[in-house]
């Protein structure tokens, strides 16, 4: 009967047919109970006929769900591996400041957050020498979460077309360049998740945008594929092979649905001026018109013409304090100076997004030579404010630690959603392979890519952390060598995944990740003065938390490895067998 309802001799349990099968099986079970009570065989026939009719009577609805199922499958599969990497590296970026702290063990733990105003003044003094003659520099102020000050400056004399800027990290206590190992820290994961690495940043962002668009389509078509999204959320069938994968995929997707949709859409919004420049190109044709748009999006102003009259920059700390009285002590994000040292200097002190759910630009504009407040810009237009709120929702910096953990966990759920979706593609098709010993090329490709990306990325990310502790501090260009190690380890995992039988590759690489993760705290204890027990003793929860997180992830990978080893794929299960076993399982 199930085959009849499916029609067309379809042997594969597609998403839709499994829903149909469920409905039919349920109807049958119900009808059977009824029949027993009434002791009439007629009821069974009637109910079955009714169930069949109900399915057939809606050919159009079925068509839509099947089309959406196909779209969901292929949109998800084609870019699924990139999405998986974007999701996982983006998720860990919610703790990028903490990861960066862990990756610079030389910088002692700070009991209290450094005074942003004093730190800004110290770094500004350093930049006056280090970046003398630069047309623009910008300092990101320290927060309670970050123990360093990042700054960048335009290289003096560099043409606008070139990559004319440098960046460095500074010590907020002294204002000097940081005396710590050279590393990008958590910033690498953050940048990788929307522009990747090795390829030009613009290409990477376009690729990320394309993948995000596929994701948006996969989310919408995934929801439309469901007949009963609410009921499916509460359905979980353990140890039932493909159905368990499907239920896990459903539960992860539906639980985090608002988050997944939000994070995908807001991700596109963050780079929308790049992806959709056409309206701006049409409506804004003069330089001043374009500037009117830019000021709605970011607190940067282009450097004006220098007056070529020397004038030392006024006190930056006073400017920051003035901003603090308006916005609160912890919500000043950065200090940007244009033409510092010149009479035409301007300083912008801009507001952060830790005390409000918006990242729309709010700033105070000062005359850099006199220190006089010229303008306070604390409002943008409605559309710009909407964009600011969407931006802040993506970054998640407005919340406290609990919310950060929630973002992190739901983000991991999203990663698992993509991962289970990718794995399901093979689980679903394995049952119907013409020759299970020799799968066709596409099947083997997806199978191997899944191992290489899902298990491989965990190993690569851990490899990056290992490189941070093991690479000598004196290595030239060290921050980038750490990243080269990340990709070298990942490439090795790819080769391994190609060389071994798929199931063995899964188990061995998952174990490899588990062991490497579990040993990170050991490595840390051996190579730094800040082992786990000491971190706990002094209450350094960034360090202790990092070590604990490594053990938690090690346990997760070990569990996955054990479950994979125990898993026996059911090859060529008959549809009848499934249809019969199902009501018993519930």
């Amino acid at each position: 009967m199930v085959g009849h309802v499916d029609g067309g001799g379809s042997r594969g349990p597609t998403r839709v047919s499994s829903v149909t099968a469920k409905a039919t099986a349920k109807a049958t079970a119900k009808a059977t109970a009824k029949a027993t009570a009434k002791a009439t065989a007629k009821a069974t026939a009637k109910a079955t006929a009714k169930a069949t009719a109900r399915v057939i009577a809606r050919p159009r609805g079925r068509g839509v769900r099947q089309s959406m199922s196909g779209l969901h499958t292929w949109a998800g599969l084609l870019v699924g591996w990139i999405l998986y990497a974007m999701f996982l590296t983006g998720t860990v970026s919610y703790f990028k400041d903490e990861i960066s702290q862990w990756m610079r063990p030389e910088i002692a733990r700070r009991q209290s957050a450094p005074d942003p105003a004093a730190a800004a003044q110290r770094v500004a003094d350093t930049l006056a020498v280090l970046a003398a003659g630069s047309p623009q520099w910008s300092i990101q102020l320290p927060t309670a979460r970050s123990n360093i000050v990042n700054a960048f400056w335009r290289t003096p004399g560099a043409k606008a077309s070139k990559r004319g800027h440098e960046e460095a990290a500074f010590d907020p206590a002294t204002g000097h360049r940081l005396a710590a190992r050279d590393t990008l820290g958590g910033e690498f994961f953050y940048r990788f998740h929307y522009q990747f690495y090795y390829l030009p940043a613009m290409w990477g962002r376009w690729l990320a945008g394309l993948c995000a668009m596929f994701m948006l389509v996969a989310i919408i078509s995934g929801v439309m594929t469901h007949k009963k999204i609410f009921a499916d959320f509460f359905t979980f069938r353990w140890g039932k092979g493909q159905r368990s994968w499907l239920d896990a995929h459903n539960a992860l997707s539906v639980f985090g649905l608002p988050f997944h949709f939000m994070i995908t859409y807001t991700g596109l919004v963050m780079l929308m001026t790049m992806y959709m420049p056409w309206g701006a190109m049409t409506a804004l044709q003069t330089q001043s018109q374009r500037q009117a748009l830019n000021i709605q999006l970011s607190a940067f102003i282009p450097p004006g013409k220098p007056a070529h009259i020397e004038a030392p920059l006024a006190r930056v700390d006073a400017m920051v304090r003035e901003a603090q009285t308006r916005w609160g002590t912890d919500d000043v994000l950065r200090v940007t100076a244009t033409n510092p040292g010149d009479a035409s200097a301007r300083v912008i002190v801009s507001r952060g997004d830790s005390e409000r759910v918006s990242a729309s630009p709010q700033f105070l504009l000062f005359d850099g030579a006199t220190g006089k407040l010229l303008e306070a810009k604390e409002r943008v237009g409605a559309a710009a404010e909407t964009r600011g709120v969407l931006y802040a929702l993506h970054m998640g910096r407005f919340g406290d630690l609990q919310l950060r953990w929630l973002y992190f966990l739901v983000g991991l759920g999203g990663t698992a959603m993509v991962g289970t979706g990718l794995v399901m593609w093979t689980v679903k098709r394995r049952q119907n392979l013409p020759d299970p010993q020799r799968p066709y090329f596409g099947f083997r490709l997806v199978e191997r890519l899944n191992v290489a990306v899902i298990a491989g990325l965990s190993i690569a990310m851990t490899g990056y952390v290992w490189a941070n502790r093991l690479l000598p501090v004196s290595v030239a260009n060290r921050a980038h060598v750490e990243i080269d190690v990340f990709f070298a380890v990942w490439a090795a995992a790819w080769l391994y995944a190609l060389a071994r039988p798929a199931k063995r590759a899964w188990i061995e690489l998952l174990w490899c990740a588990a062991v490497l993760l579990a040993l990170v705290p050991v490595l840390n204890a051996l190579t730094t003065e800040r082992p786990f027990w000491r971190s706990v003793a002094v209450g350094d929860w960034v360090y202790a938390g990092f070590d604990l997180a490594m053990w938690a992830f090690a346990a997760l990978h070990a569990t996955l490895a054990l479950r994979t080893a125990r898993y026996r794929p059911r090859i060529r299960t008959t549809r009848r067998g499934e249809a019969v076993s199902q009501p018993q399982g519930r």
Partner: protein, 115 residues
Amino acid sequence: MHVPETPLHRETVDRLHRPGGIGPLVARIVGAIFGGYALAMLSSVAALVLPMPAPQAVLTGMLASFIVYAGAVIWVFIARSSLRAWAGLLMAAVPLALAAWSAMSMAAAAGGRLA
């Protein structure tokens, strides 16, 4: 080799065995990726006719364009045939193109005044 049975798939398989190949599927994919982007682009320009300051209209158009894009892709794969999919895209494009054209001529006139 098993592939799930969907209208899309049936169409593909039917066509694979006939001259003309996988035309309809390719037509849908091209319609979804490029047609969808074109529609999103048109809507982002069409938003300029909204009665609000130019930067806000520009941003509104950008914000809406991704929803238009996603909707267009969904439509292309829901439509019963690739012909209907493209017809739907074109029907949606006509009013958007008119609005975009009026926004462009307005901008050109304003630009002329500025120059």
